[in-house]
Amino acid sequence: MNKTWNNGAWFMVLPVLALVAFNAVIPLMTVVNYSVQETFGNNIFFFEGVKWFEEVLHSERFHAALLRQLAFTGTILLIEIPLGVMIALTMPRQGPWVSVCLVLMALPLLIPWNVVGAIWNIFALPDIGLLGRSLNGMGFDYNYTHQPVAAWFTMILMDVWHWTSLVVLLAYAGLRSIPDAYYQAAKIDSASRWAVFRYIQLPKMKRVLTIAVLLRFMDSFMIYTEPFVLTGGGPGNSTTLLSIDLVKIALGQFDLGPAAAMSIIYFLIVLLLSWVFYTLTMRSEDQS
């Protein structure tokens, strides 16, 4: 698609620019504004410079929350990406069942995030939840409302249940773009199942998998509603991820300065990690 050079195209982009900038730039400026000031109420602000940033960066609480967040995101990526790809590989390529599978798999993605939390809240209760009851029935002492390990297990299982379908659908879309001739060639070269995956399917899925990992990384790193509804950050603050901690500080204790500084740091971390990941895959794509 050789595109013609035409700066007139700016007029077509203006509405999008206006709407997104209004929602992104102004709030960001307010956050930046707070992050460098101190207030003791009734709207009087004192310029504090980077005091809040230092404070947040050194605060134990931020490190703990960040660590939990990285652990959570790392775990779900390690589970959901391979699981999603495996399921996509085993799906039938054509036939009536395909669209039925896709619709059913996409269902969890359509449920409001708080309802997902509520469903799992009920589903995993030790006494009246199906999962809680069967686990205890099998001899596990499982009560996610009290045991941090159980809370983490339930939170991760909920996220796998909620988002793996996105990876399956993306991987499946990537697989469907592979022309039949490639599979015929592989048969003729008597390639093994593994070789077919390694040298035909994986390279072709690279693009959509990059999108999948990027989307899953961003969404999981910023997750708030589901874990909050499920565990409220508890027991104690064992499941207080970054977003939950940030909301506690901002809306809970209402000290705007640290909350704003933490927001900026949080946003920069997401931006940085996404950018690093994006350029890594793009560069390896050009070089390959």
Partner: protein
């Protein structure tokens, strides 16, 4: 192995359906039956929870409000994204690459970061507690997604079709509406599905920007769970009803789902 391989997706779908089945199971039980006994099937089947929702204005208003701002957002996002996606797909212009990347970075903005500033911004514009507020706020992440999906579908239409239309004498607007949009109708469908979905599922911004008049169902549910005791049955029924809009919308785009999820890139 090929013949048995379908077991994997079948088992995965079974795993997905379990919690939803449990939610539905709950929604047809009275609260004390839920607390009292553990039964795989409601012993005394009741629809009182659903009746309660459909009669109590605070509940069904929640649905109406949610559907309202979600539809407004979808319309705004799509109509704003269409020309922009066309520009990105057909033209090179100063800073196009950076603009496209900046749009995507907004999707990386943690909603929690923006909760408070949004509250202040929309209050200052005295838009607080209105459909427009939530619809506009959701544009933050829906417009970039819509642009990305539509640009993918648009790039599938050869540029020569545009030129043939111009040569035939079509002005740009007439070409766009009469020729181009029908060609990417599936793309518009998929983009609308995504905007609807991501706006329908979001809670944080929707809750922050509303209080009474435009309170979404999600906010109504969290209020019930925390304050008026433990009406689990009611909560389950409300939750079940929130799944329906999604299931209906996805039915319309069912054969483009895979392509849509690849954001039109495949």
């Amino acid at each position: 192995m090929k013949r048995l391989s379908w077991l994997v997706p079948a088992f995965y779908i079974f795993f997905l359906m379990l919690p939803i089945y449990w939610l539905l199971n709950m929604s047809f039980k009275t609260t004390n039956e839920i607390l009292g006994s553990f039964t795989l099937w409601p012993t005394n089947f009741t629809v009182e929870n659903y009746v309660a929702i459909f009669t109590d204005p605070t509940w069904y208003n929640g649905y109406i409000n949610s559907l309202a701002y979600v539809s407004i957002n979808t319309v705004i996002s799509i109509s704003a994204a269409l020309p922009a996606a066309y520009a990105f797909s057909r033209y090179r212009f100063l800073g196009d690459k950076h603009l496209f990347f900046w749009l995507l970075t907004n999707r990386m903005a943690p909603p929690a970061v923006f909760a408070l500033p949004f509250f202040q911004l929309y209050s200052a514009m005295n838009l607080f507690d209105t459909y427009i507020a939530v619809a506009l706020a959701h544009c933050l992440f829906n417009i970039p997604l819509a642009v990305w999906i539509l640009e993918g579908f648009m790039s599938g239409v050869p540029k020569e079709i545009d030129e043939t239309a111009y040569i035939d004498g079509y002005s740009f607007p007439r070409f766009f509406v009469k020729i181009f949009m029908p060609l990417i109708a599936s793309g518009i469908g998929v983009a609308a599905f995504f905007c609807f979905m991501f706006s329908w599922v979001e809670l944080l911004l929707a809750k922050t920007l509303t209080s009474v008049a435009a309170k979404p169902i999600a906010a109504v549910m969290t209020r019930t769970a925390s304050t008026s005791g433990y009406e689990l049955g009611l909560l389950a029924a409300a939750g079940a009803l929130t799944i329906i809009p999604g299931a209906v919308v996805i039915y319309f785009v069912r054969n483009y789902i895979a392509k849509g999820f690849a954001l039109g890139r495949v």
